[in-house]
């Protein structure tokens, strides 16, 4: 009985629904098809959002600096915009941050727990490793060893 009553309630509320029920499905399908660049777009957006917070800047400040509409900046900050290199470089210049970098063939990225990532050449890593530097954690030592073998 209670279930029949509940179904009536549902029916009543469903009759009040206006618009599409499946916008979320479109987004999910779009994300599935475009996962690779959306992930990078999100990473870039994270860095921009963090930089704005650190520099106590608003969305409007960035829009003014870039000479674009606040709506455009909003899309960038959401992390779902397919950014051009021109826009990326413009943001890098205005915020004084690096958003993308291309490694040279003799460069690698080494993870440093608690400190993000550092970029280093194999020689630098060898030097850090042999100096017994305190900045290296146990996990890094394994990584560096592997890299030395790789570059041997």
């Amino acid at each position: 009985m209670a279930k029949e009553e509940a179904k009536k309630v549902l029916k009543e509320y469903i009759s009040k629904a206006e618009g599409s029920a499946s916008e979320w499905k479109k987004t999910v399908a779009f994300r599935q098809e475009n996962k690779s660049w959306l992930k990078k777009s999100a990473k870039i957006a994270i860095k921009i959002n963090r930089s704005l917070r650190a520099q106590k800047m608003t969305q409007k400040d960035l829009a003014d600096l870039l000479k674009v509409s606040p709506q455009m900046v909003n899309k960038i900050l959401k992390g779902s915009e397919n950014l051009t290199l021109e826009t990326i470089v413009k943001i890098e210049d205005k915020l004084n941050i690096e958003l993308i970098s291309i490694l040279k063939s003799n460069e690698v990225i080494v993870a440093m727990p608690s400190k993000g990532f550092v970029m280093a050449t194999s020689n630098t890593i060898s030097k850090i490793y042999s100096s017994g530097s305190e900045i290296l954690y146990k996990e890094d030592v394994y990584l560096v060893t592997e890299l030395e073998e790789f570059y041997a």
């Binding site: 469903i14 206006e18 916008e23 999910v28 900050l77």
Partner: protein
């Protein structure tokens, strides 16, 4: 907050609530928020103490940046599960809100969090018959729902929906105060 309408997402099985103050129904809003870096950055910054406590509990370092990326990955996975199976996996996806409840019963408060064990995403629903009526969702970084405003709101929404479905009084009663 008053229920404005309920959208039928999958015939007779999955429904999503729209509240009067909102332009869309809950699933649309969750998809918008959980893939929105700006929203997530503000959320984790605002709930940094809870994020730090959780990281300590897991003995890991979780920065705001990590938390945002993880949330997007978790949301991708959770919504994909909801989308791909066309509702055939709802019983596996949703569990009783109270972890101590083993039995499934009508008008039970339920939650879905995806297959990743440590997921902090929650979609909340009231379950009856074979149907799940989604009432909301949030990022839950702490133990008890009553302990934070945003999770307590979700608890109130669940109770409101449960009452609404059981009482069959559409116009007046299904309001919770936020």
């Amino acid at each position: 907050m008053r229920i404005r309408a309920i959208f039928e997402i999958l015939k007779d099985r999955l429904f999503s609530t729209q509240y009067e103050s909102e332009k869309s129904h809950v699933l649309d809003i969750l998809v918008d928020n959980w893939f929105n870096v700006q929203y997530l950055e503000a959320f984790f910054e605002q709930n940094k103490a809870d994020l730090d406590s959780l990281a300590k509990l897991y003995n890991e370092e979780i920065t705001v940046e990590d938390a945002i990326e993880l949330t997007i990955d978790l949301a991708d996975e959770l919504f994909q599960e909801l989308y791909e199976e066309d509702g055939n996996n709802l019983k596996e996806l949703f569990h009783a809100l109270d972890d101590n409840e083993q039995r499934i019963y009508d008008f039970q408060k339920a939650k879905a969090k995806g297959s990743y064990k440590k997921s902090w995403l929650r979609i909340y629903a009231v379950h009856f018959d074979d149907a799940y009526v989604v009432t909301g969702g949030t990022i839950k970084l702490h133990f008890k729902m009553q302990d934070r405003i945003h999770t307590n709101e979700e608890l109130k929404k669940l109770t409101s929906m449960k009452d609404a479905l059981k009482l069959n009084e559409v116009d007046e009663l299904f309001v919770y105060k936020s």
